[in-house]
């Protein structure tokens, strides 16, 4: 039987500011359950990033902390929403970080694919597919929600038959109501 220890913090809501802030975890070192609660939340952000894009560990070393902690601090300053574009903002941050000289096309594509996959898994709008473009990439990284019972979401790199304008920012996106990316309605800025 686990030992129940008293907690200084009573309710989960008191921890909301700390749940995405690795730097604040130490403030709760004397409160075991609050510390664990924050740890579990922070680990979820970590695993969502590095389990999906293990290539990032090449930059940071095996614990990922030299990428993860400064990115999360920057994300808090920028008030990033941690939506499907989470991985794209990591790339945007990396381009202005000490790691900018180590970035390559494989890492960029893996982050774009991860965002497309996250959209296809968690978006609940009517849209069936998303296309993500990058000013440094010719084609599109596309994510498709499963449209058959035995299907899973899929992510594809699609070459363009005709060139289209680059997004205004580093990345842009558009969605399709059907299961194919067959028209270009123009770019939307990625959500913060």
């Amino acid at each position: 039987m686990p030992l129940i220890r008293p907690s200084r913090i009573r309710i989960d809501s008191e921890l909301l500011d700390a749940l995405s802030a690795p730097a604040s975890q130490q403030n709760y070192a004397d409160d075991v359950r609050a510390f664990v609660r924050i740890d579990h939340s922070i680990r979820t952000y970590w695993h969502t990033l590095f389990d999906v894009c293990p290539g990032l560990l090449r930059l940071s070393g095996p614990d990922g902390q030299s990428v993860f902690r400064p990115f999360m601090a920057w994300a808090a300053e920028q008030r990033l929403s941690f939506g499907w574009s989470y991985y794209l903002w990591v790339y945007i941050w990396l381009r202005q970080s000490e790691f900018r000289g180590l970035l390559d096309s494989d890492l960029r594509l893996s982050l774009m694919a991860a965002s497309a996959a996250r959209w296809a898994t968690f978006d609940r709008s009517k849209a069936a597919a998303i296309a993500i473009g990058c000013m440094e990439v010719q084609g599109l990284v596309c994510g498709f929600k499963p449209c058959a019972l035995d299907a899973s979401m899929t992510v594809e790199y699609q070459e363009l038959e005709k060139a289209i304008a680059s997004p205004d920012g580093q990345f842009g996106f558009f969605t399709s109501s059907g299961p194919e990316i067959d028209r270009f309605p123009g770019w939307y800025a990625i959500p913060k």
């Binding site: 309710i11 909301l16 359950r33």
Partner: protein, 276 residues
């Protein structure tokens, strides 16, 4: 008493169909918002047994009303086509000040009651069916307020409780909330969940929900001790497994559930819906 299994991804389709054909489960709980691009007719023909719906990402406490109206309309299409035995959702905080939480948070059962009740009533009206809401696997002591909150909410709003027995065990182990505190809810609801959990990575005396392994001995004991209150005409219990989808491990747990409820060897029967 009917025993079900959660279906969250097409990759689990062969396993779920096998569990049905082996008589290990009586119904399938579909994580319905994962399948909103699948034609209702295809989903309706998917399983040779009744289905229930679990909603994961409506985020109905915080989503804007236009989005929820649209989502509810799409969900009603599936409700009409598949006639689920119940429709359930999550009472969680998915974001904080516009920033998504990747590990969802527990609401404040005291200060948020009125706002939650208002939104719950509205969301239930848009779904068009009685809505069952799941209790949270608490780490912090605020979880001690959950039983009274759910009792009041069900009384005043008409929603039901999707009572997760293993979440109650987690709350018991973390916060010391007696399992007896849930007695009235267990005695009155007909919808149950159960799943595995594990100790936290850094402090083994703190427990976190995980859905990645077999049921704990504490959960088994809780189930056995409350069997007479869980078992009612039309009652359902869904076994959830989201990670480590291993057939033998899942089968062992389902067989254990069937043993606890005296259903081992019984063929499937028609789940009695509780349509409101």
């Amino acid at each position: 008493m009917q025993i079900g299994f959660n279906f969250t991804s097409g990759s689990a389709l062969p396993l779920v169909r096998q569990l049905i054909s082996e008589g290990r489960i009586d119904f399938v709980e579909i994580l319905i918002d994962n399948f909103l691009q699948v034609a209702p007719r295809e989903l309706a023909a998917a399983f040779d047994c009744p289905v229930a719906f679990h909603i994961m990402f409506s985020k109905f406490l915080e989503s804007d009303l236009d989005f929820l109206e649209d989502l509810a309309g799409r969900l009603r299409t599936y409700i009409d086509a598949l006639k689920p035995v119940y429709v359930s959702d999550h009472l969680l905080r998915f974001s904080h000040e516009g920033r998504n939480l990747f590990h969802f948070a527990e609401i404040d059962y005291v200060s948020e009651y009125d706002a939650v009740r208002e939104r719950v009533e509205w969301w239930q009206s848009r779904i068009g069916r009685r809505l069952y809401l799941e209790n949270y696997p608490s780490i912090m002591d605020g979880g001690r307020d959950a039983p009274a909150f759910f009792e009041r909410l069900t009384r005043e709003s008409g929603v039901g409780v999707l009572f997760d027995l293993s979440n109650a065990v987690i709350t018991n182990l973390n916060c010391g909330l007696s399992l007896d505190a849930w007695h009235d809810i267990i005695s009155t609801t007909t919808r149950f969940h159960v799943a595995g959990y594990h100790t936290s990575f850094i402090k083994p005396h703190v427990i976190v929900d995980s859905h990645d392994r077999e049921l704990s001995s504490e959960t088994d004991t809780f189930l056995e001790s409350r069997r007479q209150y869980i078992e009612k005409p039309g009652s359902t219990i869904t076994y959830e497994r989201d990670f480590n989808i291993e057939r033998d491990s899942i089968s062992a747990d389902l067989d254990n559930l069937r043993r606890i409820f005296g259903l081992l060897g019984e063929s499937r029967r028609q789940v009695q819906g509780n349509v409101v």
